[in-house]
Structures are given as structure tokens and as C-alpha cells.
Point group: C2
């Protein structure tokens, strides 16, 4: 009984976690993943992304029975009708979610039982950049502040190490802080 | 009647758009925005972000009656139970949504009536990086491919210019391609 209880920590099956690590070490090509998103414009600032299949662990993954559909928008002051968070807010969400999951996984691997993880992220921008009014301002956030509150059954110093390690391993933290090359391909048609 | 019809193009009120541009040119401090996201861990790879208020156009914006709540997760192969798209997929969504809204706004400003905008984004990663198995691989995507299909009432070359201009002005495209400094603050508590 004790073994079964300890195997799942922070909602993460650590047996599966260490099994996955061993499998990828033994067969490195299982580590290749490709994630995908398809977006369709609906009108104005409203567009919708569909997310379902991906490639990973050596195969096309079809485990998701249904697609996720997520709507983006803009508030009135940015010419939208609030059909969803705006894209910059979604980037903050992606960063918060990735740091959180990373630290939950790191804690599970290190035997730390977490009781609470909360974060608040703020991004500052001057829209004179994106609006093309003044090129002294970049289009995106000048900086992002991420404040985490973490509670768990370990000394504060160990909890800090878990967050530190999570930031060193988070996919989105890496992308947001270091950037990623983006290849943009465009096909155009004149409507008849 | 004709003037009223032409004022709204692609679902964007161009009168309001040019009015906003003029207002920010006259009073540059209106261009300062701050967006925010608060995230709470639920269990395992499941966490939820709440997005509502922001600062912009010289004041705290309270125009959103309700908060947006968005759930993140991981598929089974990455130790989750599919409670939502994963954080890297949300980053693709943020990029697709921002490029789409940017090009819709640019088209509206330039008098181009769009009939369709669709995009597919793919991001490649080797999870040996994020899993800490092999430091030759970065944690995030090595590259992102974004393929846009755009239809509108202008010559193909003009439609391409609209997409080109949109990528030069998109907040999330800037952040994803160039990176953003992130300040990470951590408070920890040992659970009793």
C-alpha cells in the first residue's frame, strides 16, 4: 500500500516518469516531438485555434479523442469585442503554465510533496511600437515579471532549488527568454 | 450609407482605429500597457490561468465583466491527463493569434477586404533537453514553421505585403523570435 501511495506524487506518476526517462535514454529517437496548432480568423480580432494531434515518442499521437478549441480576441480599447484573452496574455499563460508544470514534475522527481503553487505574471509594453507610431519601442513586452508562491513539505531552500531547476528545464521559459527562429510561409489568393 | 459601410472593414472599426492612433500620438503616455495572468496549480500537469484586468490607455481597464479562465495540461505520453493544450501548444496559439490579428488590422488600415485567413504552425523539439537527458538539445522548440493562407480583394503581392508588415508589428512574433527578459521572483513556505 505504501509503495502505491508514494508512486503518485503531486498528481504525477513517478513510476511512469522514470520509465519514460529510461525509455528515451535507451532509444533517443523517442524524444523527438512536434506540436501543432491550426488557426482560423473569424472576424475582427476574433480567431480560433484548434489543437489535437502531435508527433512524439516515435509515432503520431492520436490519444486525444477531441480537439481543443481556444479563442483569442482583444478588449474594446484595442479594437476587439473581448472574444478571448489577447495573444500577449496567452503568452503569459503559456509561460506560467510551463513553469508550473515543470516545477511540479521536478518536485515529484525529488520527493517533494507540494501543497500550493500560484503565480502572477505581468508584461509591460508600449503599444507605440506595435502600432508603428514610434520605433524606439519594441512590439512585444519590454520585460515580464513572474512571481511564484510555492508551498510544500520541504525546507524553503529546497523549494527554491525546485523552482530554479524548473526554470532551467521549462520549454516555454527557454523560448520566451531566448527566442526561437520562426519560418513564415505565405500563400495568397485574390478573392473573386 | 457608403461611409458607414466602409468604416468597418474586416470587422475592425477603422474610424476608431485611426482615432486611437491620433490619441496616442497626441498623448504618448496612453500607449503604456500592462497585461497580467494569474495561474494556480490544480494537480499533476493541470493548472489554470485567470485573465481579466489590465492597465492601458492611461487607466486600469475594467471593461471585462468576467474573467477568462484557461486550462493547461499534458497528454498521457507526457504524464498528464489532457486537461488542456500543453504550454508549448499555447505558445503556438499565441503566435498564430497575434500574427492573424496583426494582419487583419493592417489589411483594414490599408483598405484590403479579407475573406479568409488560416494558418498552421508546427514546432519541433527533442524532449531530451527539457527532461535533462542531453544538454545538446534546448528545452524549447528548435524552430517554428508558420504557414499562412490569406485571401482578400487585393493583388497577391499586396496581400503578401500585408502579412510582411503584420510580422514586423506583431507583439508575440517579436517576443518569440527575439526573446524577452523574464524576472522570476519566488516565495516559498514549508507546509505544516
Amino acid at each position: 500500500m505504501t509503495q502505491v501511495t508514494e508512486r503518485v506524487r503531486n498528481g504525477v506518476d513517478t513510476g511512469q516518469m522514470f520509465g519514460t526517462l529510461d525509455a528515451i535514454k535507451a532509444q533517443p529517437e523517442l524524444g523527438r516531438f512536434q506540436f501543432r496548432a491550426t488557426n482560423r480568423w473569424i472576424g475582427g480580432a476574433h480567431n480560433r485555434t484548434t489543437i489535437k494531434d502531435f508527433h512524439g515518442a516515435g509515432q503520431e499521437d492520436t490519444s486525444r479523442a477531441e480537439a481543443f478549441e481556444i479563442d483569442a480576441g482583444e478588449p474594446a480599447v484595442l479594437l476587439g469585442i473581448d472574444t478571448g484573452p489577447n495573444p500577449a496574455e496567452y503568452l503569459l499563460h503559456a509561460l506560467a503554465a510551463c513553469l508550473t508544470t515543470s516545477l511540479v514534475y521536478v518536485a515529484a522527481a525529488r520527493g517533494v510533496e507540494l501543497t500550493e503553487v500560484e503565480s502572477t505574471l505581468e508584461g509591460d509594453m508600449d503599444v507605440r511600437g506595435a502600432l508603428g507610431i514610434d520605433d524606439h519601442y519594441r512590439n512585444g513586452f519590454e520585460r515580464i515579471r513572474a512571481s511564484f508562491r510555492v508551498e510544500g513539505d520541504a525546507p524553503e531552500e529546497k523549494l527554491r532549488e525546485v523552482v530554479e531547476r524548473a526554470s532551467q528545464r521549462s520549454a516555454v521559459y527557454d523560448m520566451v527568454t531566448n527566442g526561437v527562429p520562426v519560418e513564415l510561409e505565405v500563400e495568397t489568393w485574390r478573392s473573386s
